[in-house]
């Protein structure tokens, strides 16, 4: 599904990713762990196409296409979803409007009929009920005045509604208490399927107790220095990044 080859990228002339190689097959969940400044968030931004992140080498193939040639919205419409570490506030735009606009933009892209207000409401209510999210969140402006937990839940709700093929979770656990973490993880787990993959970026192994990965990679100084299965995360937790990176 996703094939990253020798990916190099810089921000403002500073090289952050220094040759990343990673292959994700359909249905797989990969965790990328690493110390601060290793390039974890940069990887998620480069994959989702954020402005200011310049790719200087390598390639990314997604479902047989050159991902790097697509605009951010095209990537989203092709099924790449980034759950933000810091979800952005959009004053005056009710969450429901935002969700409906996004969903219909993607449906239109795929040549599907757009949903009208009633159809949309029915769908979104199903999702909020499944995820245990209060409907009043839909009326509030996107992320404005949301607590850290509410913001992450909103990300999960968006993900559930947009049903992406590849989920990029950027430190979804940061700033969450254990209950909120469970809700977020539960949302991701519900979406697990043989066709859907995920790249889970996290600093701590805690999240991986709830979202169990098939593979764990250690990112240090812009490169993947070690890969393994779930046990690697536990090893990291025990010995620290320095020991693993040096090994």
């Amino acid at each position: 599904m996703l094939e990253i080859k020798d990916l190099r990228a810089e921000i403002g002339g500073k090289e952050i990713l220094k040759g990343i190689n990673l292959t994700i097959n359909p249905g797989e969940i990969h965790a990328v762990m690493g110390p601060n400044g290793a390039g974890k968030s940069t990887l998620s931004y480069v994959l989702s196409g954020r402005e200011g992140y310049e790719v200087t080498g390598g390639s990314v193939t997604y479902m047989g296409e050159d991902l790097l040639a697509l605009s951010p919205d095209e990537r989203a419409c092709h099924g790449i979803f980034l759950a933000f570490q810091y979800p952005v506030e959009i004053p005056g735009v009710p969450s429901a409007t935002f969700l409906k606009t996004a969903l219909n933009a993607q449906r239109k892209f795929r040549g599907e009929e757009e949903l009208d207000a009633m159809e949309f409401l029915k769908l979104v209510r199903e999702k909020t009920a499944e995820l245990g999210i209060k409907d009043d969140m839909l009326k509030r402006a996107v992320n404005v005045g949301f607590s850290g937990g509410e913001k992450k839940r909103n990300e999960v709700l968006q993900m559930a509604l947009l049903e992406p093929k590849l989920m990029l979770l950027d430190e979804t656990d940061s700033g969450l208490d254990i209950d909120a973490l469970k809700v977020a993880a539960d949302g991701v787990n519900r979406l697990r399927s043989p066709e859907r993959s995920a790249l889970v970026i996290t600093h701590y192994q805690r999240l991986l107790d709830y979202i169990v990965p098939d593979f764990v990679h250690v990112l240090a100084d812009g490169k993947i220095v070690k890969s393994g299965d779930k046990s690697l995360a536990l090893e990291l937790e025990e010995k620290g990044y320095a020991a693993i990176s040096a090994a």
Partner: protein, 489 residues
């Protein structure tokens, strides 16, 4: 919420940049170019006006000659040659049309193109897009059609071209014309008083709640022609009316002058809600062409508990110079001003309001949303004045500016004058930028860059968009997206 939901689809559905930019080939009768007492007399004669009105026009003209064009606004434009403008242009008709069937089909086609339903039977038959709105259509200098008059007449509501009101209701016109905006008020008001050609007149009798929205659509068509319309609305005791105003013009590479005057009179316990979607041609991306929109709008809350609210969405015009104001004379009267002004490319807008509190317990609210993109300059200029007798008067002002890109400007110029010991005045102002983060967040969910911008800006304007009547809100949201085309990337 429902109002802003459809935004993006609508933005996407409108492909052209300025879809009203067509010119219609309609035979017109035009006065000789330039301005003189003879032209004023010509217009008055064309309108078959009574002597008193001609005298008033001439006084206004002579007064105008003694005045200087104002320069205090933060707008920059080459000197206007007032002798190089046609002051009268009317679509040629053999006789005055008695019904819509007699109106030139070309003209009706224009309005159809603009999406304005003039044919009552269509409206009554529930044709898609046709709203329950009575329309007065003003084409260049004259009113061409007014719908639903019979139904309104049953309620005692008078809604007709002002030129007709002069003939049929002279006592009302004589009493109120110039009573809110005298011809001595300012340069453009004096000019308008001398040469105004048509506009809408509306009178809501005591205790009547107008059964439908009233609307006037202004269309400039002829080249090199100024449009000077005059609107007069009187809400008698305990009456209510909601009035809508829309404007469009063809794309031309010359600048055209639009200098209108709107006067509202609100008596005891009455209310007028006045909404404008101003979409005159704004000029091209290099600032060539576009309408100079120099407008004087003022409401006088003469009675106790009178209420007026101005809601405006200003997206068009090369230059906008406009300060819809409220004179809060009656005790407990209320004035509201809700404004969205969007400037893109080289557009300039200097707009705001004046709230003049004279009566006791009067209150006013100002919410202004200014959006600047491209190399545009947008200024909020507002005056809040509390008179000596305005005991316990209150004002609350919020001015928010949003910048898109780094070559535009937003300015806030509030004036506050207080002579009341017990008045309360609050002023809040913010300036923000559309962040790269917000755009990326929307794009990451599948919206194109322009759809993202339209969504964010509509969110910024939400408080004001909510104040518009439904049909207008939808149009306004589309406009927000279209006006900002080319502002990103």
């Amino acid at each position: 919420m429902a109002v802003s939901q459809e935004t993006v689809e609508q933005v996407a559905s409108v492909s052209e940049k300025y879809k009203y930019g067509f010119v219609s080939d309609i035979e017109a009768e035009t006065a000789p170019i330039g301005l003189s007492e003879d032209i004023v007399r010509f217009i008055s004669a064309k309108k078959e006006e009574p002597e008193w009105l001609l005298e008033w026009r001439l006084k206004a003209y002579r007064y105008w000659l003694s005045m200087e064009e104002p320069t205090w606004a933060k707008v920059d434009y080459p000197k206007i040659d007032y002798q190089d403008i046609y002051y009268y242009s009317a679509p040629k008709t053999k006789d005055k049309p008695k019904s819509l069937d007699e109106v030139d089909p070309e003209l009706l086609a224009v309005y159809e193109k603009l999406g304005i339903p003039l044919k009552e039977q269509e409206v009554l038959a529930g044709v898609e897009g046709a709203a329950n709105v009575a329309v007065d259509a003003v084409f260049d200098s004259v009113s061409v059609a007014t719908t639903f008059r019979e139904r309104l007449e049953k309620e005692g509501v008078i809604f007709c071209p002002i030129s007709e009101a002069v003939k049929n209701h002279p006592e009302l016109v004589k009493k109120y014309l110039g009573s809110v905006v005298p011809y001595t008020d300012n340069f453009f008001a004096a000019l308008n008083s001398a040469v105004f050609t048509d506009g809408s007149f509306c009178y809501i009798p005591k205790g009547v709640r107008c059964p439908m929205e009233l609307s006037t659509y202004f269309r400039i068509n002829a080249a090199q022609t100024g449009q000077f319309e005059r609107t007069l609305i009187i809400a008698d005791d305990a009456s209510y009316v909601s009035y809508l105003e829309g404007c469009t013009a063809p794309m031309r590479d010359e600048n055209q002058l639009h200098a209108a005057v709107v006067e509202l009179v609100i008596l005891d316990d009455a209310e007028i809600k006045y909404s404008t979607v101003q979409n005159w041609y704004p000029g091209d991306e290099n600032g060539v062409g576009g309408i100079y929109n120099f407008v004087t709008k003022r409401a006088a809350c003469r009675g106790k508990n009178a209420k007026v609210s101005w809601t405006q969405v200003e997206t068009g015009s090369a230059i906008t110079w406009k300060y819809p104001s409220c004179i809060l004379q009656g005790d407990n009267s209320i004035g509201e001003f809700y404004s969205i002004a969007i400037t893109n490319n080289l557009q300039q807008a200097d707009t705001g309001t004046k709230m003049i509190h004279l009566g006791k317990n009067t209150s006013s609210t100002i919410i202004s949303k200014g959006i600047s993109a491209g190399r545009a300059q947008s200024t909020y200029r507002g005056l809040v004045r509390m008179g000596r007798k305005a005991d316990h008067a209150r004002n609350h002002t919020v001015c928010d500016s949003l910048l898109i890109g780094d070559k535009c400007g937003a300015h806030t110029v509030p004036y506050i004058e207080n002579q009341s010991r017990t008045a309360k005045i609050e002023h809040e102002a913010t300036t923000s930028k559309v962040s790269e983060e917000q755009l990326f967040y929307c794009q990451q969910r599948g919206l194109s860059e322009e759809e993202s911008m339209a969504l964010i800006v509509n969110g910024f304007c939400k408080e004001v968009l909510q104040k518009l009547p439904m049909e207008f809100a939808v149009e306004a949201q589309k406009l927000v997206g279209i006006s900002l085309e080319g502002s990103v990337g």
